[in-house]
C-alpha cells in the first residue's frame, strides 16, 4: 500500500462519489419534498446516457451532445411526471413503488427497442481523452478529472440554488413541512414539478457524463439506484448537504475499502485467508458503514424533517 496508490484510489472514490451525488441529489429531494418513492430515478440516469449516445452519434461532438442531452433528459423527466408520477403523489408508498417499478421495466425495454440490446459507445471529447502521469507508470485519465470538476461545480451550483434563491428556500421549506408551505399559498404542485424535472435532469447529467467511461446498456441504472438509496438514507432524507457528504463517503469507503481491505486483513491473517475474507467483506463495506451511521444517527446525518 503506497501513498500514491492511496491517493489515486481516493481520486477514484471521489469521482464515484460525485456521480452518486448527482443521482442522489434528485432522489433525496423527490423523496424529502414530495414524500414520493421514485424507483424509476435510476432509469433516468440510463436515459441520460442513451440520449448522450444518440446525440453524440448524431452531432459527432461531445459538447453539442451534452447541450442537447440535458434539456431532453429534463423533458423526459417532466413527461414522466405528467403521465405517471403526478397521479401517485397522494397514494401510499406501496402504490408508488409498484408504479415506478413498472416504469423501470417499461423504459429498460423501451431503450432496447429503440437502440438494441448491445452496449453503445460514446467517444470522449478529443481534448479530454488523454491521461496525466501522476507517478511513475501511473496514468490517470483526464476525463475522470473532468468528471470530478463537473461534479464539484454542480454541487456548488446546487448549494447556491438551494440556500440562496427563492425556489431553493421553498424547496427547503417543502422538505421540512410540505403541507405548511402549501397552506402559505405556494403552488406546491408546481414546486413538485420543478423539483422532479430538475432531479431527473441531474440524474440524466450523471448518465451523460459517465457514458464515455462506462458502457451504455439497458438496465445500467438499476444497480446504481440501490447505492443512491444508501446515500440518501445515510445523508438524511431531503438534505442536499447530507447527500453530498454521504455520497463522497460511500464513494471513498467503497473504492478505497475494496482496494485495501485485503491488505489490512493481511496484517493479522495469513495471505490466503486475508484475500478470501477481503473479497467477501469488500462489497459489504458500504452497508456496514450505513448500519454504523444509522446506529448513531437513526435519521441520517442531516435529516431535513425534525
Amino acid at each position: 500500500m503506497t501513498p500514491t496508490l492511496l491517493f489515486v484510489q481516493s481520486l477514484n472514490g471521489l469521482q464515484f462519489g460525485l456521480i452518486l451525488f448527482l443521482i442522489a441529489a434528485g432522489l433525496t429531494l423527490v423523496f424529502g419534498v414530495m414524500d414520493f418513492i421514485n424507483l424509476a430515478h435510476g432509469v433516468q440516469y440510463m436515459v441520460g446516457a442513451y440520449l448522450m449516445a444518440a446525440f453524440s452519434a448524431w452531432t459527432g461532438n461531445f459538447g453539442w451532445a451534452l447541450l442537447l442531452a440535458l434539456p431532453s433528459a429534463l423533458a423526459v423527466g417532466l413527461l414522466l411526471e405528467a403521465l405517471v408520477f403526478r397521479h401517485l403523489y397522494d397514494r401510499d408508498h406501496l402504490d408508488q413503488v409498484l408504479a415506478t417499478f413498472g416504469v423501470i421495466l417499461f423504459l429498460n425495454q423501451g431503450v432496447k427497442f429503440v437502440w438494441g440490446a448491445a452496449p453503445l459507445n460514446v467517444p470522449a471529447p478529443e481534448w479530454l481523452s488523454g491521461s496525466v502521469e501522476l507517478a511513475d507508470g501511473l496514468l490517470y485519465p483526464v476525463y475522470r478529472l473532468a468528471i470530478i470538476v463537473a461534479g464539484l461545480a454542480v454541487a456548488a451550483l446546487l448549494y447556491v440554488l438551494v440556500n440562496h434563491t427563492r425556489v431553493g428556500m421553498l424547496v427547503r421549506a417543502g422538505a421540512s413541512n410540505a403541507p405548511m408551505v402549501s397552506a402559505l399559498g405556494v403552488n406546491i404542485r408546481r414546486l413538485f414539478m420543478i423539483v422532479f424535472g430538475f432531479g431527473a435532469m441531474l440524474a440524466g447529467f450523471a448518465g451523460a457524463m459517465v457514458a464515455p467511461i462506462l458502457s451504455v446498456e439497458p438496465g445500467m441504472g438499476d444497480n446504481i439506484l440501490i447505492l443512491a438509496f444508501v446515500v440518501i438514507v445515510i445523508g438524511g432524507i431531503g438534505s442536499i448537504r447530507g447527500a453530498f457528504l454521504a455520497a463522497l463517503m460511500v464513494g471513498l469507503v467503497d473504492t478505497v475499502g475494496r482496494s485495501f481491505a485485503p491488505n489490512l486483513l493481511r496484517l493479522f491473517l495469513d495471505p490466503a485467508t486475508a484475500s478470501q475474507t477481503g473479497r467477501a467483506v469488500a462489497p459489504m463495506l458500504i452497508y456496514i458503514f450505513m448500519a454504523a451511521i444509522l446506529f448513531f444517527r437513526p435519521a441520517g446525518l442531516f435529516p431535513a424533517k425534525r
Binding site: T2, T4, L5, V8, Q9, N12, G13, Q15, F16, Q109, K112, G116, A117, A118, P119, L120, N121, A124, S129, S131, G137, L138, L139, Y140, P141, Y143, R144, I213, L214, S215, E217, P218, G219, M220, N223, T255, V256, R258, S259, S275, R279, P283
Partner: protein, 391 residues
C-alpha cells in the same frame, strides 16, 4: 396366402400414404436463448446464426421442413425450466438448441434429457455436463467452458510470463475461468482479484495493476463489464505496456462498443471470423449481409448446431423416432464445420483446435477477432474422462 398378399397390399398402400405424410411433418427445434437483458446480443447472434443455417439449407434439415420455435430464457434458470417444459410437452420438439449461459444450461439439462430429447448446446459448456453429469442425449457444438481460458494460460506459460494478475467477476463462472487459466500456467499469480458481478468501473483495479506491474493480466469479463474494462484499460495507458489476455471479453459481441480501445488485445477461441476456409468465408459474408454485424462464435456455434442436426437427420432418412440411430448419427458429426477440424468426443463435447486471437480493425472499418496462432490441436476437455455415459 391370399390373406398375406392382401395384408402386404394394404401395408404397401398405407406405407405409400404414410411416407409423404411423414415427410411433410415438420421437424421441430426449440431455440432456448437469452434474448432480453444486457446480454441479449449474445442470444441474438445465436438465433441469427441458426436461422441463417436453416436458410442456407433451403429451409430444410435432413430433407424435412423445419419449424424453429424461439424462446427467451431471460437469463433466469427458473424461467428457462418453465419454457423448456413448454417446448417439450406442448410443442413436442425433437431437439432443444441453446442456451448461452451455463447456469441456464445446468437448470434445463435434466428436464430435457429425462424426456429423451436431444439437447444441443450451442454455447454453454459447464464442467459437470462434460464430466460427472454427462448424458447420452447431450451434445455441444461449442466447447467446454474451461478450454478458452486454458488457451491463455498456455500462452502465458509459453511466452515465459513470470507474474500474472488475474481479474474476474465474483461468481461461479469467474472462479472457473481463473481455475482454467491456472491449469497450464505455472508462474506466479501476484493477485487474484474478484469484482462484484456487473461491476462497471474498474479504475481502482487498474490503479492496483499499474502499481504491481505484472508481466500480463488475464481476465474474464463478459458483456458490458468487458466493454468497460477494455476502454478503461486503454484510457489508463496500460494497453501498450501490460499484455491483456482475456476470454469472452474481446469478441464480436463487445467489439462494436469497444472499437479502437480493444485493438491488439488477446482472446482465446475455437474460431475467428477470418479463419480461412471457404465455408467460413461464405458464412461471414452472408451473415454480415443479412444482419449487418460481424458474427461471433455464438453465431458460428449455432450455425454448426443446425448443420449437425441436418447431417444426423440425413443419415437417419429424416427419422427421429429411433433415438439410438439418431444418436449414432449425431456422434458421427458428418458435416463440414465452419471451424474446420471438428469431431464429437466421448462426452458429447467437441474435439477441436483452439487459437490465440487478437482484436483488429478491418479495412472496411468494422472490428473482428483474428487468429494469431494455433495453441491446441484436437483438444479434448479436462472432464471427458469423468464421463461414464457411453454416447
Amino acid at each position: 396366402m391370399n390373406v398375406t398378399i392382401k395384408t402386404l397390399g394394404v401395408a404397401a398402400v398405407l406405407g405409400l400414404a404414410a411416407t409423404p405424410a411423414l415427410a411433410q411433418e415438420k421437424v421441430k427445434i426449440g431455440l432456448l436463448l437469452t434474448l432480453s437483458g444486457p446480454s441479449a446480443v449474445l442470444g441474438q447472434q445465436a438465433r441469427d446464426g441458426f436461422q441463417l443455417a436453416v436458410k442456407d439449407l433451403g429451409g430444410k434439415l435432413g430433407g424435412r421442413d423445419v419449424e424453429v420455435i424461439v424462446v427467451d430464457d431471460e437469463l433466469k434458470p427458473d424461467v428457462a425450466v418453465t419454457k423448456v417444459k413448454g417446448l417439450l410437452e406442448r410443442d413436442k420438439v425433437d431437439f432443444v438448441v441453446g442456451p448461452i449461459f451455463s447456469n441456464v444450461a445446468v437448470a434445463v439439462h435434466k428436464p430435457i434429457v429425462d424426456s429423451n430429447t436431444f439437447y444441443i448446446s450451442s454455447n454453454a459448456g459447464p464442467s459437470n455436463l462434460a464430466g460427472k453429469s454427462c448424458s447420452p442425449y447431450f451434445f455441444a457444438t461449442s466447447y467446454q467452458n474451461d478450454q478458452n481460458h486454458e488457451v491463455l494460460g498456455k500462452v502465458a506459460q509459453d511466452r515465459g510470463y513470470k507474474k500474472v494478475y488475474l481479474l474476474a467477476p465474483n461468481y461461479q463462472a469467474g472462479k472457473d475461468a481463473l481455475a482454467g487459466f491456472k491449469r497450464h500456467f505455472k508462474g506466479e499469480i501476484i493477485e487474484e482479484s474478484y469484482v462484484p458481478l456487473n461491476n462497471l468501473d474498474f479504475q481502482s483495479e487498474l490503479a492496483k495493476i499499474a502499481s504491481l506491474k505484472p508481466d500480463a493480466i488475464f481476465t474474464f469479463m463478459p458483456g458490458g463489464m468487458g466493454v468497460n474494462l477494455v476502454k478503461q484499460y486503454r484510457a489508463a495507458g496500460l494497453a501498450d505496456r501490460i499484455p491483456f489476455l482475456s476470454a469472452f471479453t474481446v469478441d464480436e459481441s463487445t467489439l462494436p462498443a469497444q472499437q479502437d480501445a480493444a485493438i491488439g488485445m488477446f482472446g482465446g477461441s475455437n474460431w475467428a471470423p477470418n479463419l480461412d476456409t471457404p465455408q467460413n468465408k461464405k458464412f461471414v459474408a452472408d451473415y454480415e449481409a443479412a444482419y449487418n454485424s460481424v458474427p461471433g462464435s455464438y453465431s458460428m456455434h449455432a450455425y454448426d448446431a443446425a448443420l449437425l442436426i441436418d447431417s444426423a437427420l440425413k443419415a437417419t432418412g429424416g427419422k427421429t423416432d429411433n433415438k439410438d440411430a439418431l444418436r449414432a448419427a449425431l456422434k458421427k458429426a458428418d458435416f463440414k464445420s465452419l471451424r474446420g477440424d471438428f469431431k464429437i468426443g466421448a462426452n458429447g463435447f467437441p474435439v477441436q483446435d483452439f487459437y490465440l486471437v487478437k482484436a483488429a480493425k478491418r479495412p472496411d472499418g468494422k472490428f473482428q477477432t483474428e487468429i494469431v496462432e494455433k495453441v491446441f490441436d484436437d483438444y479434448t476437455d479436462a472432464y471427458a474422462k469423468e464421463c461414464a455415459a457411453t454416447n
